[in-house]
Amino acid sequence: MKVSKSIKYLIIISIFLVTIVLNQFVPDAANRPDQPKLIFNMFLGMFILALLSVFIYGHLLGRLKKNGVRTIMDLSVVFGIFFFLWLVLIGKMGYTDHLRFPSPNSVFTVYQTDFSLLVVRSTSSTIIRLMQGYAPAIALAIPIGLFVGRHVNVHDRVAYPIAKMIAPIPPVIFVPYAIELLPSIDMAVIFVIFIGAFWPIYVNTVYGVRNFDYRYIEAAKTLGASEKKLYTKILFPGAFPSISAGLFIGLVLAFIVLAVAEGIGGSYGFPGLGWYVLYFADLFDYEKIVAAILLIGLVVVVWTAIFDRVQNRILRWQVKGDE
């Protein structure tokens, strides 16, 4: 069983190896400009190294959870086949025009040629902005949500009607007005990200508290829990599954808002991944657009992975608290 699984995993890893070999030894299609193959190969090689380490460390040594290893492997099949098909169909056989459908070699070369603008400055400023908007949203939405969810009167008379009216309003429409009212574009972008992330987190926190079994609160009170303990040890962990759903939606919205806000603010000239995509869209430079989209995907994946870790830690604490 273990052996057959190992072989399966090795086959998955070898998809990437085959892609590298193909890329190196088969000539590019005639309609493609001659592109350096180094960066794409390096990327695939790094992927192989990462997968190998997951395979050895997780599968053979059993240090990672079985499900985790399987999920990573399943996902890599999808990515491996995607890169393989992209390389063969577009790069080597030259189907479709090369302007709108760039080959993987030319896309990945962008990371080298635009290294400082795209990979360093745009990525870092996007991540910083995202955190500046998203972190205050979390810090405000969760306490307010817990408080409102706990006080039925405040919720029914004031908070619910307000949330019902304002929460679904698309936050991006505030971008132009925020740029006008706030002193700098950066602040406007951060403010709108904050608005975009705040409402889903808040609504889900309230929902989590409202649907929390009231008997737990009564039991905690009977056992002499103070109001502060009630919030930190009972309500927050109890509402956490719902809160985490809200954090997820809030993150998606924050990303959308960030991309748009950067695109609009971009005419004022500052780097950022959303700005990069929209700027080069005006120049019809699809290699750079695809490169930036892939980079955004990578940032999102890494961010989500870190986020899931944090979430699991909090949930682990909840299990401990319940014991």
Binding site: V78, M165, P168, F174, Y177, L278, A292
Partner: protein, 321 residues
């Protein structure tokens, strides 16, 4: 009895705010720094709202034809909305706080709906709503069947769940420039990103809802002699319905976000385009009018479209509760 009079008083206050605003607006002169504006558009909109609200409260509260909770919610929302307009009229319009350029007064803003009737109120709304609905219904029509398929098949679920969780995080707006290149027009491209944006939350929630159905329920249905088709229609879909609806609501909100985002970045018609066009020119009364109109449409479709469908589809939940 006393609580009934209290509720009646509350309703009276939230209804009475609107005539109060109209009277104040008519009687008090505009602030000196404000240009002289016609007041009739704001006033007539408030009269229409006042009429609808009072008929609703009469019908729902006094004749008892509506659930009390719903009447209370409508009246609370109206009170907050009315207070907002009241403060806006007094501080900005009548007392003339803040500068006229970035903070237009309500009479100026609401007048825009009349002067720009063709461009804003009719054409832009029509273009935006048609776009949003084509994308959203395409997403519903594909994501729900696919979600049910993936949720019922364990292997498909274990592959597609992590995959969709990764893909769903990528903000669909970044596909827009590329979609413009591939699709024949910007209109198709915006519909496409609305579709993508609504697709993932609906798919994930449907998958999750179907996957989490207690297998015992399906076993029971089998024992009682139901065939596959009947199990799907009578057991699986209703059991997953709360999840499907939760996903559909997120999808609807996200599709409005993407609609306006897409229009602001690249369209040549629609509410988002209107907003950006007048932002670039620097007419903030029109920008605020656009923001209010978009908010109105989103609120309208979610409250009168989605909530009604939801309460109809989840009738069984209320019966059990």
């Amino acid at each position: 009895m006393s609580s009934k009079t209290n509720i009646g008083l509350r309703y009276l206050i939230s209804v009475a705010v609107f005539p109060l605003i109209i009277i104040l607006n008519l009687m008090l002169p505009d602030a000196a720094n404000r240009p002289d504006q016609p007041k009739n558009v704001l006033n007539s909109l408030l009269i229409v709202y006042f009429g609808i609200l009072s008929i609703y409260v009469l019908y729902g509260h006094i004749l008892n034809k509506q659930p009390e909770v719903r009447v209370q919610m409508v009246s609370d929302i109206s009170l907050i909305f009315g207070t907002f307009i009241l403060i806006w009229v007094i501080t900005v319009g009548k007392l003339g706080f803040l500068n006229t350029h970035s903070f237009p007064d309500p009479n100026t803003v609401f007048k825009v709906y009349m002067t720009d009737f063709d461009f804003l109120t009719y054409e832009s709304s029509k273009a935006s709503i048609i776009r949003a609905f084509i994308g959203y219904f395409l997403a519903l029509a594909t994501a729900i069947p696919l979600g049910i398929l993936a949720g019922r098949n364990l292997r498909a679920f274990s592959v597609s769940y992590p995959f969709s969780k990764v893909t769903a995080h990528i903000p669909p707006i970044v596909y827009l420039p590329y979609a413009v290149a591939i699709f024949p027009s910007i209109n198709h491209a915006i519909i496409f990103i609305i579709f993508i944006g609504a697709f993932w939350p609906i798919l994930i929630n449907t998958m999750f809802g179907v996957y989490n159905i207690d297998p015992k329920i399906i076993e029971f249905a089998k024992i009682l002699g139901a065939n596959d088709k009947r199990i799907l229609a009578k057991v699986v879909v209703p059991a997953a319905m709360p999840y499907i609806l939760a996903g559909s609501l997120i999808g609807l909100v996200v599709s409005f976000v993407l609609l306006t985002a897409g229009e602001m970045v690249g369209a040549n018609a629609g509410l988002g385009f209107y907003l950006m066009y007048y932002f670039d020119v620097g007419y903030f009364d029109k920008v605020v009018a656009g923001i209010l109109l978009i908010s109105f449409w989103v609120f309208f479709w979610i409250t009168f479209g989605f909530d009604l469908v939801q309460s109809r589809l989840l009738r069984w939940q209320r019966k059990i509760g």
